[in-house]
Symmetry: C3
């Protein structure tokens, strides 16, 4: 059995020393740790996008992986540090909803408040719990410390009422843009169920300034300049343009509403 | 013998979960895999710049390294997934010319179509072959699967007619800007042969709005604000300014033509 | 004992092949090397910010770690390549002041000029000593080559007169913005001593267009839109806004002066 992997998901960017400080702390506690970045470019303070990106990255890692997620505008305030066990993976981070999507996808999950000071750095700052609490706890877990040693189970860890599409009348649903990816594709909160219905029915998907009526099997399936919907690699419906940014065309960002009508 | 390295070159950026998904897939199949990023910031859909960056990064890795390259606007269409054997390295990616430069540099090379479904993820999407085909094939190769198990040799894998300078009259050659680097240096397609001629002869190098007539031995060898040519670390002639962006001064990007006259 | 880590700090960015070339060189010489990035986004040519980020990242790594730092506008000129021994860590890079902060923090330190050609690549370019000198020297050190084999001690390695606050009258000190982080927080050169005084005394901190008079225990401790000072995770006083960019509000960048008056 190789030792468990540790992944990192933050909004720290890669220009500063923050991520390196977390890695140094992990490697000091656990010198043979193996660390993989999911992303450090969650839009600053965007807990919902962090929850989406963490889930989309983490789900491909082997069972037993320990995921550290730090999008943490409330660092130093009363928000609790937590450990989540879900689907055979461990997750460490702030109790602000960042684990909502991994918990929703898992058949079952539970959360613990991190209270064991022996697993943290000796001095805990008010501004950088990624380095002082979450990184060292993850390193100790990777070395074999059990979740029960980290802290007690808590029943009320925060779950975001993340954008689950809502039916507004017989043929219409309202959802949300969960994320805009590198290519300007807009990932909506409409999932595999809605995707399978769109394939063979006329539909209208309205977001920002545009209404989309085309369905595509793959990106290059449509002419340049044409907006279309596709079942993305995450299973969610995406709004795309072939080799162009749908986000720019629609003037839309994460969090924007999107309406789906199926005829 | 340490196990082979796997490198990744894509246009996915690092803000999304795409690269992490590929790494998770590799580490699930091959838990002790060692993965190194070449770059994930190939300009989106720019196969030529991807081919340049892949070759410039990959050539420094030890023999036996497996390189995954995904700049793939045609994902999901009829373009084939391929495996290239060149210069003792293996390369995995789409058949769209991305391996043109590594194949040109190698004394010999050959390509196979990737057809063995057992080496792919069980479900292959239309939008993300990096995760579903190329990452798992690379992981299996790193574990010891032989190229022959991946698929049959094909004679007609695509080779870009990449910018090889063309002589237009007795003293004049036309080339191309292959890449603009982080510092705004413009890497031209004029190679070591032209570089050795420029060192002791008057010349004119014309690109964008400017004509360059100065040759430098190193960057700090010229005054601020002076455009000059230099033999870059890749062996190609670069157009540079000392501590400033030549690309901004010239108003030039990758793909732009550049003309060289030697007197 | 696990083998020593190698960290990398550069201004190369991550879009080009430069960092990958350095990693390939290291892994060719030392196939089981473990490499961690501190950052590759030091503002181009900014030796002072590089010195700050290197120190802030490197200090969290275990003793014995080898740190390569390449912010090197003078590459190819007469500036020497050096090896610094400080605080149980090794540092490799150009002699331009990039190691000033790690040397200041260490109880003692010493520098050697790198002269042993056998530890460099066979052919050393004028433009990329990161690949041709610093990466291979670090790889050899990680494999067990001793510092004494690298070159002789030199007494005069460059130390930046980095921004140490200066007292300008009985109640007033002048310092510098050392760095602007990802969130727009301004890290000043005022350290833990000044921070402890500000906690219970009225003060004025003036930078750019604004004067700050509020002290906060943590980021979310202040209302939106309020500028405040805080003891940052590095121990330095930072100027911040809760979930907004203080740098934009003040119109300030690294290098700008900042004045502190304590009443």
């Amino acid at each position: 059995m190789p030792r468990p992997l540790i992944t990192l998901t933050t909004d720290f960017g890669t220009a500063d020393h923050f991520v390196a400080a977390m890695k140094g702390v992990i490697l000091t506690i656990h010198p043979t740790a193996r660390i993989v970045d999911i992303t450090h470019e969650v839009p600053p303070f965007s807990v919902l996008e962090g929850a989406f990106l963490l889930d989309e990255g983490a789900r491909w890692f082997p069972r037993g992986t320990i995921h550290v997620a730090v999008v943490d505008p409330g660092v130093g305030s009363a928000r609790r540090p937590i450990l989540v066990e879900a689907g055979g993976h461990l997750y460490v981070g702030p109790d602000n909803g960042i684990f909502s999507m991994v918990r929703r996808r898992a058949a079952s999950s539970r959360a613990r408040e991190i209270t064991n000071r022996k697993l943290m750095l000796p001095s805990v700052s008010n501004t950088f719990h990624g380095r002082d609490i979450f990184a060292p706890v993850a390193a100790h877990l990777a070395k074999g410390v059990t979740p029960a040693k980290v802290g007690k189970l808590i029943p009320d860890a925060l779950l975001l009422r993340a954008a689950v599409p809502e039916q507004t009348n017989k043929r219409t649903w309202t959802g949300t843009i969960l994320h805009v990816d590198q290519f300007g594709n807009l990932i909506t909160s409409f999932g595999p169920d809605e995707a399978s219905r769109l394939r063979d029915r006329p539909f209208e998907l309205t977001a920002g300034f545009e209404t989309i009526r085309h369905w595509a099997a793959f990106y290059a399936d449509q002419p340049f300049g044409q907006l279309f919907a596709i079942k993305g690699s995450s299973g969610f419906i995406e709004i795309c343009m072939n080799q162009a940014s749908a986000a720019k065309k629609l003037g839309c960002a994460a969090g924007a509403p999107v309406e789906l009508t199926i005829f």
